[in-house]
């Protein structure tokens, strides 16, 4: 019995891919700066074909991220030179449906390293992490126009802003929004850097303080001895009703799974507990993805394997299965 089936064949030079919210569209970025969109003809079909292919930029695409579907079919592309472009599939002024550039954040010396979108009380927020260790949060002003962004906040990924010193040079950054989309839910995300400045690196949970209209670090996901560890990935698990949040953090030491409390203490901090340290992927984790229930974590990494992690009834995490690519 075959466990896997082939869905699509990608063009030469493809470097990254991303599925949309329902897994019906695939966007892939190419080394030559083209973006390809794959669609299937009906929802039950498992064969995807390239429906559009277009040049988005002169340099290669490093990462593609879908904008939440409430705001249309749109993709953010992070290019190799650190530019950030937003492309949208739209019909304009009686023209046919086509992909159009709706916003570009051109790179200067400072590169965009990661970008993620979060939806909260009907507004769209975009958080971008830059190579100088800064984070910028933009808010979409018009829900129907993806070109109208306002810078809402800018800060560094440090708990205590006084302690920041020196000029940071960051290789990569990872952002993961709290996937919860409730009305009452405050916006929050977790962010970690891979940089030469120790304070910047450790993953911190940032939460929007509605009363004072500012972002606050509410938790730090690193053990005392490991705060300077370079973070290669973060993933916030969907919470379908647990009394705590679950966040996976990857460093060169392996994958850590953290439980984060839901209610802040008197200092506004959330309690954190590291529940697992899993060494794997030969110290290089590429990607971590939680399943819809937040019970299973899938990871890829430098050893070229896909690994599946779960915890047992006692709360002990272990590797449940692994997949080894073969020809």
């Amino acid at each position: 019995m075959d466990m896997e089936k082939s869905l699509a064949t990608l063009d030469e030079g493809t470097t990254c891919s991303s599925w949309n919210y329902c897994g019906q569209r695939l966007a892939t970025g190419c080394i030559d700066g083209t973006l390809s969109i794959f669609d299937s003809r009906d929802p039950a079909s498992s064969s995807f074909h390239c429906s559009s292919k277009f040049q988005v930029y002169e340099s290669g695409i490093a990462k593609v991220v879908w904008v939440p579907p409430e705001f249309g079919d749109a993709i953010a592309c992070i290019c190799e030179d650190g530019s950030l472009l937003l492309w949208e599939e739209v019909v304009q002024d009686g023209q046919v449906l086509q992909w159009k550039l709706c916003k570009s954040f051109k790179s200067s010396a400072i590169k965009v390293l990661d970008v993620q979108f979060g939806v909260s009380s009907a507004s769209l927020r975009m958080v971008a992490a830059y190579s100088d260790g800064h984070v910028r949060i933009f808010e979409l002003l018009d829900p129907l126009e993806l070109n109208n962004w306002q810078l809402q906040a800018e800060f560094q990924n440090v708990i205590d802003s006084v302690s920041t010193s020196g000029k940071a040079s960051c290789l990569s950054a990872s952002i993961s929004w709290n996937p919860q989309r409730g009305e009452s839910q405050e916006s929050s995300f977790v962010l970690g850097f891979n940089s030469d400045i120790q304070n910047l690196n450790s993953s911190k949970v940032w939460e929007f303080d509605q009363t004072h209209q500012r972002w606050l670090p509410v938790a730090e996901l690193a053990s005392p001895g490991n705060k300077g560890d370079r973070v290669s990935g973060v993933a916030w698990a969907p919470n379908i009703g647990r009394p705590y949040e679950k966040i996976a953090v990857a460093t060169h030491k392996g994958i850590e799974i953290w439980h984060v409390g839901l209610n802040p203490d008197s200092d506004g901090r959330l309690s954190v507990e590291k529940v697992a340290s899993l060494s794997s992927h030969e110290g290089e984790v590429w990607q971590m993805e939680w399943d819809i229930s937040g019970m299973t974590l899938a990871t890829t990494g430098g050893d070229g394997m896909v690994r599946i992690w779960q915890s047992n009834l006692n709360g002990d995490w272990h590797e449940q299965a692994a997949f080894e690519p073969t020809f």
Partner: protein
Amino acid sequence: MPGFASGSADDTSRGAALVPVSTEPHPPAVYPLHLGLKPPISRLSISWSRGNTLRVSAFRQTTSVTKNSGEEIGGKVVEVRLSSSGDGEVSDAQWRRIEYGSVVPFALLQSRRNSVLSLSKMAIDSTPYNVEWLEYVMEYSKDINSLLGSSKLPPDSVIADPNKFLKIGEEPTCLKAAWELMEMFYAEKMFQAWLPERLVDWLADYDSLLSSTQLTVHSKLVNFQKELFSLQVIEDNPRYWEVLSSALAVGWLEIVVKMLRLHGSYQLDQLGKRETENGLVEAVAVLISKMPRLRAKIDGGKLGEVFKAKPDFIKAWEKWRGQITKLECSSFWIQCSHPQTREGLKNMLQIMLGNINSLRTATCNWIELYISHFLYIRPFTVGLESMYSLAQKCMLSKPMFVPHRLIGLLLGILGENTEVVLAECSDGFGPWMVTHAIELLTTASDQAEILLHEERYNLGGISVEELHRLVYAQVLSSHALTWQIAPIYLISCMKQGMGLLEILLYKQPLQHNQLLLKNLEICRLYELDNVGSNIMKIAGVNHWKHGRKGSGVFWLQQAEDEVCLNRIAQQLFDSVGKSISDESFKQWEGLIELLGSESKTSGGLEFLHKYRDFKKSLKQVHDGKITDTARQAVESLMMLMRNPSTPQRFWLPLLFDSLKLLSWWERPLLNVSQTNLLLNKLQELSLARLRPDFIKSDLPPDALNAVRLALATNLGRAILEEQ
């Protein structure tokens, strides 16, 4: 924690356990992932798809040599199913039938549980699970069992082949065998005295399944059946007697009797010569068919005498054993001239007398030996504890060297170890089995119930029962044809079911109207209004942006998305501002109609509605209609100009459009105060022009002057008229 049922790694390890019982770390199963992509692979990218399918993109390293060819494949995307139900013994289509079929029994049992629980809350100290409840569970178990195929062999043909003692019917499945095991131990609790006989029947039905991993009585019979045609004198063959005693040891009486009647002494030409021999064969056959059985009933075609109550049974049993002993001591044996027959029959009597050595020789593995114990040594065995210690004894005596999932399950049940039973169900049979079997397991004991219903912090505050339902719902949602039944299982989860259902609904594709409507129906059914309006918003924005503006507005209205509707109204303003005298009027007129007047977003929309009315009447005026229409147009104009919601940038275009009204040839249409109001507005506009945020319209440069002149003329005529 979705489980992995049988995979392709290798046949002996059936994937990793859903919930491992042991806490000892064990190496994970490594599965090959066939990409069909030439190495080197530079990177992998993963994404969860429906339920628990995982999509993997693999990108090839781009080398400078291949860069220009343009023909190379740059990567592959594959989908991996992390849960497959079973090991392929049940086809995908059959699985879906089972999945759909189990929805109603499951839901019925849940609703019955709820009503039983609510009743027991009213009557304090009464146990929630009583006889009535066990009947419900039994009904549920039977319903599920019937979905798993029939184990009963098809009725024999009218003229039975005398040489065919073994009927080969529909292949039984391990799935059904496992379910029946749990049914007899958990659902039929009230009939414990009949349990040994139920196990005898069970082995008769499913012994063939064990043949895949070891020698069984069934496989012996199958092999002998094949040999049968080449045998001239059957009773000379030692295998005949061996197979006979094996079949007798496990209680397949009808097969034994049928085989005995193949004995050569029955042949007409032999009768005279072998009278005694034939008499002995027949005597044994009769004794076998008269064997007393402690059970509820006996199915047609099967042999033995049924006794429902123990005292009657014991009496009959002792009498029967007496008859066997009598036959054994009979002097007829000396007169029997055929040594194989004599020895064979005597061995069969030993089996019926419960001679442990004979039973041990006749059976092939411990479970068969175990069954033979119930038949001939301890027919009154009751209680799981003694059954378990007997099983352990048999295992030592005749061990199985290759594990079998049915045996693992049986041991878990006999050992009263709920965790083992769960793990065996999950490992061997997948999430469907665990989810549905838990309903039976909870009746096993109070400990089992606590274990399954206790809320655990490690699981995020849910019980083991809920965990497995969530896992199963995730498996159901992995397939386009089964995701719709996942909500039934999710709503039975007290704590996290709704959370998962919301995510599940959010992840459904919406581009097809039918799917969208189905999604919304589920939202309505479970009162997930927020999710519903979010889904409608996604659909609305998608339609709007993809040029289906009408559908876009419709769905945004359904979603009551005031923010988006306001923006749309704003966009309409903009197009109105640009082409006030344009023919595209019809196009957006429809949209305004659709936006409706009931919307709470009065501001912008109210203007658009009035503007539409004004344009309509103005058009009629232009068509050369009479003054009444002109008056109507003036009314509309005045209403628009008075209304504070009319944006300032429309004032001039509106007035310019109305030039004809302002300088009506017959007589002035506006009175003095009306004209003054408009002149004031014009004045305001002139001042506003000086401000930096003023939006210029596309009107001719002398528009303002033309309007001013017309208003002045009208004012003059109006003053004269009013005097």
